[in-house]
């Protein structure tokens, strides 16, 4: 699984940077095409949900997904042969 931020929904409130226990979400610097500064992901492979969601069959921590007021954070299945394992979806 990989963690993505949906840039069409994120409004840049940075609440995810407050709650993530691993500090995966970091404040962004560059505004995107909508003028929203979307948080950037710092080594998202550390996220417990990415690693263990399939094994346990349930969402483990998921506080970032729950607190996101714009429903922008989600986990998707990743392509097993992609060279870059985790990227922010453009």
């Amino acid at each position: 699984m990989k963690l993505i931020i949906d840039e069409t929904r994120c409004k840049g409130c940075n609440l995810c940077t407050l709650v993530c226990p691993y500090k995966i979400f970091q404040e962004g610097t560059k505004p995107n095409h909508k003028g929203v500064v979307v948080p950037v992901l710092d080594r998202p492979e550390r996220c417990t949900n990415c690693r263990l969601q399939k094994l346990y069959g349930r969402v483990l921590c998921g506080v970032c997904q729950m607190i996101c007021p714009d429903q922008a954070i989600t986990w998707v299945d990743e392509d097993p042969y992609s060279p870059e394992k985790v990227v922010v979806e453009e």
Partner: protein, 264 residues
């Protein structure tokens, strides 16, 4: 098992709430709780009044009623008494529930109708531009109280407890796991269950009260909420209760006779 995001109307997203508004968090928590109950969208109804919080049912795929100001609970009473097999959840705000709908609220608590009322308390009237509501804290600045509010605020959770609701709890939008658990407990309880969710309003309340962005407001709520157990301990020891803090947790859980519960 379904994901709670399947309950959202994807074609209506992104929603109109401001950056960092806590209402989206409360929608997530409520939908997660409803999803954990295993209910079907066909048997669930979301009802709301007027306000920012009351736009929430518009983003949910179930049937919903967007009713007049303050009258969400009377409409919900009608739905529940007409069709007791439906699961009725009411989304409401503090201006909707406490100000204009105050009488409807206390009488719904007294009658103990089988509803779940989720109140998003953001301290002000957010939609009309930040006017002071019955829940504005003492000394807080709003559009209609530019020198600081000098009226004592309503304590909605204690009001519901005194009026006779079967399940009452209060959490903030920082406590997402606990809020989900509280809404789920409210959905399971027959009779009126009231969940007060303190949410941030960075646009209308925070920026006038030295809390510039959503993160500062969430941190403020995290630091000023005291768990119920600790609050009661402080009361029992006779220590002075801090005036700027508020208790969070489960206020009451009891089994008064309820109205509108489907017969088995």
């Amino acid at each position: 098992m379904k994901d709670f995001r399947e309950w959202l109307r994807e074609d209506r997203m992104p929603h109109i709430y401001c950056t960092g508004c806590g209402n989206g968090t409360v929608i997530n928590c409520t939908l997660n709780a409803v999803n954990q109950m295993g209910w079907e969208p066909e048997n669930t109804v979301f009802i709301s009044g007027i306000g920012c919080s009351s736009r929430a049912p518009g983003y949910i795929i179930t049937d919903s009623l967007h009713t007049t100001h303050g009258r969400a609970i009377p409409f919900a009473t009608g739905v529940k008494l007409c069709r007791p097999d439906l699961h009725v959840v009411v989304f409401t705000g503090d201006g909707d529930l406490a100000a204009i709908g105050g009488n409807h609220f206390i009488h719904a608590c007294r009658r103990n109708i089988d509803l779940t009322v989720v109140c998003m308390n953001n301290y002000i009237y957010g939609m009309t531009g930040g006017q002071g509501s019955p829940c504005t804290p003492l000394g807080a600045i709003s559009t209609t109280t530019p020198y600081g509010c000098d009226e004592a605020p309503f304590d909605l959770a204690s009001l519901a407890t005194a009026a006779g609701a079967n399940y009452v709890s209060r959490w903030t939008s920082y406590h997402v796991k606990e809020l989900t658990r509280a809404v789920k407990a409210g959905l399971e309880t027959p009779g009126l269950s009231f969940i007060e969710a303190m949410v941030q309003c960075p646009t209308g309340y925070g920026r006038r009260n030295k809390l510039r962005d959503a993160r500062l407001m969430v941190q403020w709520m995290r630091d000023h909420s005291v768990l119920m157990k600790k609050w009661k301990q402080m009361e029992a020891e006779g220590r002075p209760l801090p005036e700027d803090k508020f208790p969070v947790g489960e206020f009451v859980r009891r089994h008064r006779p309820a109205m509108g519960v489907p017969e088995e």
